[in-house]
Symmetry: C2
Subunit: 664 residues, 2 copies
């Protein structure tokens, strides 16, 4: 298979042990083993073949995804895969489908919001996939504003049922994945109404389709919302619409862990704290952050390998041309993304720890750290998904014209990735939540409340408001303390400036509205600080493997100094660094690029992606790009015939100038 | 048709006359009339229907494009449309196809590089479309580096022919639009070899296919390069590959305006100056700039209208929720793009003038202004296409989840637009050309050479290097002189800093390589100055129409101050503004947003786009978004049946737990 290796020279140049780095990237030897084994399992199974997605019709693509999904489930059972392995298998399958929503949204919703009885009843069905569920929250008219949902669930004491109804067109459910054609059940969010009183939005388990013949139950209208971005991408998934016409469900299908409706129609809150729900959110968002790193790493892997294969200009005396990865512009666009992929990986790892910590505290009824954890995951979800979306497109551009070919893998990756900026919270709306939390934290500083966790640095406000960066030469920018202080000073000063400006308004809410744009910037600065500080913590800690730590240090400082340069305006206007220090940072950055350069290909090899998973002719492990581009081209349906369909009807009449008479 | 108008309130709010603005946008009443008439002609013709593009197979899409193209050509002839009208018709057809390459590349190449005889012979065929041509320059291995092309054209004195040959796989032509399946002819670029001597790359007219049955001629292998980004987008076009196996063409098919090969095989340069070729480049690139404004305006039109329709949060006492366009974050993302669309429009208009000016000078053998014009168009092509690509995606995100639907029009627009960053010069490679020109200009300052045109400001280096911005309050940022000076100081100081850093290197070329990233930033600063200065010149000039000038002034300063904020690091580190002045600029920006807000919908109405051209349910003129989203959804093939194809094979066995035995 790997007979030729056009990248062998690059691999030989590496100054560290790639196998060791693979472990660090995966998180542990065990995690590496699982990923490595499952990814090869998927890659070698012809059912998971994915190279034809771009030319499949919507129906073929959808059906093919059903096939893959059911096959995956079959493998999970037959091979008795663990949960961890099953998750990996679904992710290496690399095609959005109903399994994702069933396992990632439907089941957790019941776990998080169902009573023990409900869990027992529904999870035993769901866990065996005897029912298929989706998560039906968003409506045509309401996404971000969940409290504005219009679907109603009115309790009917006569029959002991809820009547689920869609009162307006905009109240139709719209977007839920797996809803359109596949799901038999859904967790539906609706306004609970008892005795004429609106208790706000609650979750209900609703059966949508007959388990006998899959037809929608009477009172239910359901279908697919149509094509989305890209050729393949999310078009494999039946995101759906759903309308209820006075559809009845038994009372015990309201998810009643947090509050319930009694037989008499009384609304009773349980003593289970509402905060528990936020635990789930922290979980979902931390997994989005780790997916961001996976996706960005894919794009970076493709662009890095291709940039080492591609040569353009600079041939001396008829020799080879320059590899485009040697151009400083290419490095300046690519290496910060490489560094970001690693940065997001490590902050994702840390978020996993945070989730465990939060869960343990919640179980002990300690809610103190929850708001901070919640703000932090919201902000990191927003920041990492935005950066990843932009990063994938930049990687595509880094591949020149060939990046625009579907078989480069990058258009597909982009199209399938970008909605991560929107689902699970619109990224701007999330940053505003972070900003609100920051403003609260700042306002409590004077009252002596000590900020904790990722806002702990704000406790050093006095120092951070007046410190001056001690950077004197380029090397100082490799000093973790100096880098951190610059980021902390910038974040804190931006937050404090916002707070000061807010305080000039009589009406706080009005002030907040007026300053939204500044607030988003302050929130972003805070989130970037978190990522930088977690990366620094990682590289200052114990890391095994030959030469590995050195490489990660380089990437860590590339990440930090790239952000510093990109947001230099923030740093300078808050006086966190001087123009001279800014230009020293730039000089250091250039020198770091040179150090990364010989290691670049090995650093993306460390992701251990199979060619199947990458799905890219440009990013092939063996670098054998050009012959394979040809092979791919020849597969296009247009190449079935030399003279294309349409020649006789259109081209011939045109060039023979008979088009006036031809029936067009 | 426009019975309901959900945006009527918005339209009533406008403080200017939209019809007058339409004329300003179009450039003249005549231009408006043509656009308006032709766009409606296309919109009302069912053959130009385009809503099904996303669900067409590659072959259907390709054939449908043939149909549209030939129909367009038929209309152009039957209605005796002028050139201007014909160009508009093709552009409102809104689907990449072979006509574009034939008219925009093949014909101009022959006009620019062919002798009079050659023009006479070939253009008379091409103008009637008795032959269909494409532009075959790029190869699998070489795009940016045109001088590195590998295809050879070896003169054979025995037969008085050139032998066109593809010596390697990487020498295959790869990318030319219209090549794969349609073109009968191509202008092929190949290394000219006579008597064993390589004279570099020249153009040749090559027949590819039989005019009788369209089969490729012996010695020619040609086909389609496969799927590209998106569902519809460029997949309607047969970008192709092409290999020659010692294919012979008569000597007189070398394009011989600039140099020729005699019967004896002697290579002779003609006395026609080579610079003339650059004139064509200036032309092509100015049209790319004006297309950038058209594309960005489409995206902005969709996002603006939808942002006025979409309401989310902020309902007080059960009233209507807030229109998302009222959120300052939304304005801060959207209005600078609205301003950019206008900015690119006016700089495009100015480039048209520049092209005429350059052409006249070339005809009078005055080549003095050419390098500057060339650098300026290269830079503006790069800057406007990059900003437009990013802007379209931002507009998509501004539409929340629904922006991800294909029927929002934005995925298609993005997929079809982004290659503009790559073709006609990779944007980074172009900025490096600009940088090279700037470095030369700076280096000549001391020698007393006065820079001209868009670099004229560099002649005031002495002043600009030491001036301090006089801005004292937010209103000063509406002062054209102060704004310009800040941009000039920034651009000049960045260029001079680069030049100083360059001079520290012994080897200039090595220094240039080392500083590429800084050089790109200096070039960008220069280009932004050009756009700002042309926008200011426009709004300082004579503009007719009620309230029109006021609106354009607002947009002009939004554009400038948004750039200032985005690149604040540049402005601060070059000391072109102080942090306080930067924050005054931000305050002014916010106030401008409020002034634009009531006019936003009318400002996008002024683009006069038809719903057909916009191709967006979210951007509909009447704002009737929600019912139409449903209508679109119902058209998806997946909705042909309630129970999907695949149920019996996959879903049923799964939920009935019979998948172990089912054949998967
Ligand atoms: C691929 C995909 C899969 C999905 N899957 C599911 C699913 O399985 N189940 C489900 O229930 N939903 C799903 N969704 C829906 C998704 O959760 C929503 O699209 C998302 O919550 C965003 O809401 P919205 O679309 O209403 O955006 P909007 O809120 O309408 O956003 C529009 C614009 O308004 C801005 N905005 C909104 N509110 C504010 C504010 N207060 N302040 C400032 N700006 C504001 C936003 O920033 C954005 O620019 C999916 C969506 C996609 C794209
Ligand atoms: C949709 C589409 C239509 C096209 N139509 C045609 C057509 O009709 N006819 C035709 O002949 N061609 C066509 N092309 C090809 C197009 O002209 C080339 O793709 C383009 O010139 C870029 O060249 P490349 O692909 O070789 O990129 P590369 O040069 O390989 O670029 C790869 C990377 O290297 C970087 N790079 C390259 N050189 C340097 C340098 N000196 N310094 C710093 N960085 C550098 C680039 O910035 C980029 O990041 C088309 C392409 C597309 C996508």
């Amino acid at each position: 298979m790997e007979r030729v290796d056009h990248l062998a020279d690059e691999r030989n140049k590496a100054e560290f042990n790639v196998d060791d780095m693979k472990i660090v990237w995966a998180g542990s030897r065990h995690a590496f083993d699982v990923s490595n084994r499952i990814s090869r399992l998927v890659a070698n199974d012809p059912i998971f073949e994915k190279s034809k997605r771009a030319v499949m019709s919507r129906k073929e693509l959808f059906k093919n995804t059903l096939r893959k999904s059911v096959h995956a489930w079959k493998m999970i059972n037959e091979l008795r895969l663990s949960d961890e392995e099953g998750i990996k298998l679904r992710s290496f399958m690399d095609q959005p489908g109903f399994l994702d929503l069933h396992w990632r949204m439907f089941v957790p919703a019941i776990k998080g919001q169902g009573t023990e009885d409900q869990q027992h009843k529904w999870l035993s069905l769901a866990n065996k996939m005897q029912i298929i569920g989706c998560y039906a929250q968003t409506e045509l008219g309401h996404g971000s504003n969940v409290q504005g949902l219009e679907t109603t669930a009115t309790f009917d004491p006569k029959t002991d049922q809820f009547i689920i109804h869609s009162p307006t067109q905009t109240s139709s459910k719209w977007w839920p994945g797996g809803l359109g054609k596949v799901s038999t059940h859904a967790v539906v969010y609706a306004r609970l109404i008892t005795n004429g009183k609106d208790h706000g939005v609650h979750g209900f388990i609703v059966q949508l389709r007959s388990l006998d013949d899959h037809s929608p139950l009477p009172g239910i209208t359901v279908g697919d919302i149509g094509m989305k971005f890209g050729n393949g991408a999310y078009n494999s998934m039946d995101n759906g619409f759903l309308m209820f016409d006075h559809f009845r469900i038994p009372r015990d299908q309201m998810l009643m862990r947090l509050s319930k409706v009694t037989r008499e129609g009384k609304y009773v809150a349980s003593d289970v704290p509402r905060q528990l729900v936020y635990g789930t959110m922290v979980y979902v968002r931390q997994s989005i952050v780790s997916n961001a790193s996976t996706a960005l790493a894919r794009a970076v892997c493709i662009a890095t390998r291709y940039s080492a294969v591609r040569r353009q200009f600079g041939s001396q005396d008829g020799g080879m041309e320059t590899q485009v990865i040697d151009y400083k512009t290419q490095q300046n666009r690519l290496f910060p993304l490489l560094a970001s992929a690693y940065a997001f990986r490590f902050v994702g790892e840390w978020l996993k720890w945070l989730y465990t910590d939060v869960t343990q505290r919640l179980e002990a009824s300690d809610f103190a750290t929850l708001p901070e954890a919640h703000a932090c995951t919201a902000g990191l979800k927003s920041m990492t998904t935005s950066a990843t979306s932009d990063g994938i497109e930049e990687c595509r551009k880094l591949c020149g014209g060939h990046g625009y070919l579907w078989c480069s893998g990058l258009p597909e990756l982009f199209a399938v990735y970008v909605p991560a900026c929107t689902y699970e919270g619109d990224n701007v709306v999330l940053q505003l939540q972070v900003a609100r939390f920051l403003m609260k934290t700042v306002s409590q500083l004077s009252s002596g409340k000590t900020p904790s966790g990722t806002t702990a640095y704000m406790g050093r406000a006095k120092h951070l408001l007046q410190c001056r960066s001690g950077v004197r030469n380029a090397e100082d920018w490799l000093n973790p303390g100096m880098v951190l202080e610059a980021f902390e000073a910038r974040a804190l000063r931006m937050a404090v400036t916002c707070a000061n400006n807010l305080s000039k308004f009589e009406n706080q809410e009005q002030g907040f509205s007026e300053l939204l744009a500044d607030l988003v910037e302050a929130a972003t600065a805070h989130c970037q600080l978190i990522v930088v500080s977690k990366f620094i913590a990682k590289v200052e800690g114990n890391i095994e493997g030959k030469g590995v730590k050195k490489q990660l240090k380089n990437l860590c400082y590339i990440y930090a100094l790239y952000l510093l340069h990109k947001h230099l305006g923030d740093f300078l206007s808050t006086n966190s660094v001087t123009p001279e220090q800014g230009s020293l940072a730039n000089r250091q950055l250039r020198s770091l690029y040179s150090q990364v350069r010989p290691n670049a290909v090995a650093l993306v090899d460390a992701f251990d992606y199979t060619d199947h998973y990458l799905g890219s002719v440009l990013g092939r492990y063996d670098g054998n790009v050009y012959p394979k581009l040809f092979e791919e081209a020849l597969k296009d349906p247009l190449n079935d015939s030399v003279v294309p369909d349409g020649y006789h009807e259109y081209i011939r009449p045109l060039i023979k100038q008979r088009f006036r008479s031809a029936k067009l």
